[in-house]
Symmetry: C3
Subunit: 345 residues, 3 copies
């Protein structure tokens, strides 16, 4: 793939910022400061790495006002260099557009509406009455269930499954192996047997959502599971039935959200974190990697439950006390009383 080259002046005209140095410099790809070559534009998003500017071979650099004079390279100075880098990278690495058409091997259900501008790849199955919006790309081997509606400019990577009756907004990105709309885990015990509870809710997904590889989002039991606008889910996340994830919340890989939990807007949930069912998590809550949240969180802030690792030998000396903390506390109480008694003598 040959990359289109852009003049620094073109980039600044498009995305703003203050251009210093030669505006005619051309860049065709983005790279880190230490790997960049003259045809690359690089970026400094954290002043503490400023020293790397000295050695970089980048043709140009994106940086913030505090670092505006930290290099003599052609540069764009802006408020949010990391976001600016994202925009420049998207310009230099545009996503392929949908090539309109339906592959001969795809199977389109009765009454399905595939927009003429959409691309349906080989071995895809689109269910009866399903809708695929304009500009959407459904890659090889995906399966979209009956009556499911997918908006415009969606991008379903190979082997994504969306079950029936789900509603998805515009600009969805779903990576391979993700499963949207499978049955929630609902059953009732009767006479020593589990009875399945039909999962008749849907999954409803807003605009601008990205879903990682092999992530699963279950349909609701009676009402819907809801993923609001701008939510970003990494790989292998499990979202159980009737969960609601608030707008612009980001969840890292392997996290799990149990049934009917409600997560606020602009939360950041760390990888492998777990949230118990039926909890409420406020907006702007950050949950640390690997932490299990067992009660609702009403206040913004960072919450953590990480058992600190150590050498196995040190762990072996310490961990057994975790079953005897109550005794330790009790011994301290007794000692306090005894010292009071001694002092009173």
């Amino acid at each position: 793939m040959t990359q289109t080259a852009y003049r620094l002046a073109d980039i600044a005209a498009r995305f703003g910022g203050r251009l210093l140095g030669d505006p005619e410099v051309r860049v065709q790809q983005i790279a880190t400061l230490d790997s960049a070559q003259p045809q690359h534009i690089s970026f400094l998003s954290n002043s503490k790495y400023r020293a790397q500017l000295a050695a970089t071979q980048a043709g140009a650099v994106i940086l913030g006002e505090p670092d505006a004079d930290a290099t003599a390279l052609p540069r764009i100075v802006c408020d949010n260099p990391y976001a600016y880098f994202a925009r420049v990278s998207a310009l230099l690495n545009p996503e392929s557009k949908a090539v309109p058409g339906i592959h001969a091997s795809a199977v389109i259900g009765e009454g399905a509406q595939v927009d003429p501008s959409a691309h349906i790849a080989a071995h895809v199955v689109i269910g009866a009455g399903a809708v695929i919006g304009a500009g959407s790309i459904v890659m090889a081997g995906c399966s979209v269930g009956d009556r499911t509606v997918i908006g415009e400019n969606a991008r379903l990577y190979p082997r994504v499954v969306v079950y029936h009756d789900c509603i998805i907004g515009n600009n969805l990105i779903v990576h391979s192996g993700a499963v949207i709309g499978a049955d929630g885990f609902g059953m009732a015990m009767e006479d020593g047997r589990w009875l399945k509870i039909p999962q008749i809710g849907r999954v409803v997904i807003g605009d601008d959502v990205e879903i990682g590889a092999n992530t699963t989002i279950d349909r609701g039991a009676l009402s819907d599971t809801v993923i609001e606008d701008g939510v970003k889910l990494d790989n292998q996340i499990q979202i159980a039935h009737n969960v609601r994830v608030g707008a612009h919340t980001a969840i890292a890989g392997c996290a799990g959200v149990a049934g009917s939990a409600v997560i606020g807007r602009y939360c950041r949930i760390g990888g492998s974190a777990n949230i118990l069912g039926h909890l409420q998590i406020a907006d702007h809550v950050e949950i640390s990697i690997g932490s299990l949240i067992t009660k609702s969180i009403r206040e913004p802030g960072t919450y953590t439950a990480i058992y600190p690792f150590s050498s196995n030998a040190e762990w072996r000396r310490n961990a057994p006390y975790l079953r005897h903390l109550d005794e330790l506390a009790n011994k301290i109480k007794i000692l306090q009383h005894e010292i009071e008694a001694l002092k009173g003598k």
Copy 2:
């Protein structure tokens, strides 16, 4: 989809219970107390939510004897309202039946036996000598390995993979992306290289088992991995080689069971819990969410290993002591001796 409506009298005739109020009321869907409309039947499975009965707009309600008189709505009074709800919901929301036939794009291996009443959807591959039982539905893009036998009334959602030589009973439900029968993780180190140990066991699954989306069940190394009757597995569970899961045990999402562990009957394993290899877990054991079980459990009961979360600031003040519990305990011991010495003065 238009829903069939049922008279309350029909429902009570079918499933039992004591009918109070107008038996001619018709309901066509189930709903929660707070979202139900007059065409809905709702349920109260926990008396502590009894207050919701006052405001519900449901046409009828299912409830237990203690709540029999807590509403004047048409109602069915029964012993186990949650199970009754499951039964009514299954009546109102019947699973689609198999439409007999094999899609033209499906590939059926030599000597495979697909029952004439089964449905094989588009892009499915059935291996040589495999067997698909009566009434089973194999949805789009599934792959069933050579010589694998699947019983009657199975329901394989799109993109399920079952490897070769597995044996599966009746009424199986498997959600998309699940993988049954992949190689267990077995290898031997020799001269700095891992040698693969062929995994020649099978996966053997009983009747009435449900397996969630993207769950993986590995085949046995030498003998079989066994999932007994009535086991319910949620999404993204990992069952390693040679595990046995006892009948009617339910395991929630993202849990992992390491190799050769044997789990009893009627256990309930919480989400993201992990069970070490080669352990034995008794019948009727409940394991809390996120808990790691490192020793065999011989007695029924609930077992837990949850590190309580707190604000990050509080965690930072406390967590470092986890590496020094032995010192704290030792200091207490010294204090005890010193006080004894002081008292002896």
Copy 3:
């Protein structure tokens, strides 16, 4: 499947070791000591199970020098009985070879090079310009992206997805549902919206790598994600963007490695363990099951962070103190001062 039988003498001639007893004994399958029948060869890899030799019905046994005389059965005595077992099992259970050819339903992109000796199964999609090496088997429903190169003797089980522009060595085994090369989780926040950062790196995988079912390995953000030679990954592992996993490291099921972490050679990472982003883990490090590693590890050894489980009642008595360890430590300090004061009296 009829198994070929091998004389013990043939096996010893092939793999070495000291043959004791009848060299003409024929074995056709491998089995554990307690399940073996006369047509089986079994093995004793740990002397502590030596007592099982007395009751085994195996036709022959593989064992180490210390156990050479612990049975009168025909036997092969060797240095590493477990590795020897792996070699004998591979002899008795050879993987099927590729049947050259491309299934009529497979879709091969423009300019793709599929070696004539490779097997491409039904409903596979091979992208434009991709390369599939000699003897490789791509099973049903796999998707290989544009320009991706896969070496010789690869074995992709059904429904594997490899995205575009990845580079994979020889002898790869990938189990079903694995996803290689999906986008890493990279984005920048700007004005309350997440901007996607294009993931323009690749996944580069060495020789002799095995990847478990539903494992995900993300492509790099700017540079590559790298899996070195001989790495073995179990099921449902998440490898984030720009991670490097050193040669011959083995990672058990459900583990997660966050972005840009660098793991050394010959490490062993336990199931459900997690490694934070940007860490460095030395060679020959062992991480216990379920442990979260939050700092770089510079020295070989075993590292652990396991909260010991207990009965729920015991846990309820002890866990609350975890939020008050600082207070306990402080009380001890006060007691120490008071005792010093009392002693000074």
